[in-house]
Assembly symmetry: C2
Homo-oligomer: 355 residues x 2
Amino acid sequence: MPGTRGSHRVTIVDVARAAGVSRQTVSNVINYPDRVAPATLATVERHIAELGFHPSRAASLLRRETAGAWGFELDTLGTRRLGNILDSFVVELTARAAVTGAHIMPFVASPSMSVTDYRDLLAGRHVDGFVIANTAHGDPRPAWLVEQGVPFAAFGRIWDDPTIERYADVDGGAGVRAAVRHLKQGGYGTIGFLGWPTGSPVGDDRRRGWLTESGGGPEATAYQEIDSAARVAVDLVRQVGKGGAIVCASDVLAAGVWRHLTEIGLVAGRDIGLVGFDDTDLAETIGLTSLSQPLAAVADHVLALLADEPVGAALLTPELVVRTSSIPQEPQVSSFDLPRSPDPAGSDQHPGGTA
Amino acid sequence: MPGTRGSHRVTIVDVARAAGVSRQTVSNVINYPDRVAPATLATVERHIAELGFHPSRAASLLRRETAGAWGFELDTLGTRRLGNILDSFVVELTARAAVTGAHIMPFVASPSMSVTDYRDLLAGRHVDGFVIANTAHGDPRPAWLVEQGVPFAAFGRIWDDPTIERYADVDGGAGVRAAVRHLKQGGYGTIGFLGWPTGSPVGDDRRRGWLTESGGGPEATAYQEIDSAARVAVDLVRQVGKGGAIVCASDVLAAGVWRHLTEIGLVAGRDIGLVGFDDTDLAETIGLTSLSQPLAAVADHVLALLADEPVGAALLTPELVVRTSSIPQEPQVSSFDLPRSPDPAGSDQHPGGTA
DNA sequence: CGAGTCCATATGAACGTTCAAATCACGCGT
DNA sequence: ACGCGTGATTTGAACGTTCATATGGACTCG
């Protein structure tokens, strides 16, 4: 191509020259197409395509004094990401932010629950604002962000300050109420609750749902670990008894109960109803009825808040996903034959004793 | 503060004026501290701190003609992220990229396995290059990136072109060999393999490890889903028999086998050895021995490649994490009593029949 | 028929940094 | 005393866009 001088990035000026208009007109074509006469619009767009012009992000950002990205702090749980709804949330958020032309910039904050990483990202204009998650009591971020006038929106209520209506959250109470109703309809008797230790607002919210709908019953708390849940499940299962059911504040907790049930030879659903929360893969794996969080809707709402749309806070209802763990009917019994041992070299080392 | 005119972002010029040096010197202090005399360095740094100066990312990027970010395509698996090692990888990558001053920019590509999203991100200078994952046969990305001269590095071998040594990967074969040795040492007899359908390079690699170390045995393939694995487990379990063991290409597959074992009243470990791959939460949940991928090391290596450090390709060895599923001893039997039924309102609706 | 309005497009300037090259200060050998 | 190399610092220009404002022309209305 004669005249193409060296390796010169094609800029807005090249397009302008080619199309016989000015810089600004090309700029308008890109950013405010309705300010441009239809004929001009078409011409310029043709030349943009022909020259393969793509606006420079950096130049645009500099001039606009903006960052074009929302920060999002990632959990640093190491490899253990069990029941971590947020990984899925990031995907939704990223996909939906893209349509508005924004990026999601993930970052890993220093362990101390402080605000310094947020400050630095803002100061260098790496981000325009934040999406925050894992809100809890004592979280210093919301107040600070409001005080600094930084745009932000939360996945999760701002528990310390109800006046900050910049969040989308899932109505855990409503979800659990639906779960309890579902279990009652299934004919389960005593309905117990396994939650997290008091003080977690999310957990307390879910517990309230259970309390309201069931009127109370046996309950226990455990940490967000299978083992911990399995331990307290021993008593709890005894208390609700066969024909009863247990609603859990999370799939992880439910998985602990499930493991205990399996260990003592009971089957979730047939013998004891079991419902988790979050509808993680874990739930699917073990056939656990669970409450699915509408992450796409949360992402949309959060982005709407960031775009300063006049939507207020939102409390979205999770969806009950029914699996075998809340179905009282006898599940299809799988073949129960002992497997043959065609080549058990050294099999005698294994204490036999099958159940 | 008199003299502070309006809301004027503190720039490099302000610092220069305050410190009595030129723009460029301040710039050097930030980017090339060794080019600056120690005394000047100290002074300038003091003023930087005093004024709270943070360089503008956009300005820097514009002048440098760079993006300061590496793109990373997210999997769009919806909520189902079972055994998805990549979520953890993103966290590692983000954390480690930050120390070099780079960002990781996640994006969600259009479903077609094409290269257009990559092209657009580059054209607008949103990213300087890419970290790619999920490499497989027929992946158009590596060849295209090489052809375009775009910096990139892969988590996963470039299966179609061994000459592209821009990757870090986990040596699945070596991992599986270690697993087989471990099972043999534990005294398990026939050692079978459950893999993915042939054609997946990762799966084939892992299978080869099993074949080499075990010399062959019963095998089967299933899709990366619990159900699929549980179905084929029926035959496979029968074939290896009690006292045998099964190595799986993933935790998900192993979970399927595990579920089947549980259903037929066998206990993984005690009756049949079981090893998974990836050491996901799932493994921890069900006490599954698994191979843990060194994600932090992979992230480091990938970033080194992107930084043009003269490290070649890397094949890192996964670590065997031993849990009960590969321990032949009788596990501690949990209490086996039938739970009392204190308030079984409607419990008669539940067919009893406990094992 | 001339002032007022409106729309499309054009021009000058600025966003804040870093590159490339120039300048300055200093010490050293001859 | 002079020129020269070296290292520290400064200066001019440029990166590519968008804001604020100006210009030009068509159309309206008293």
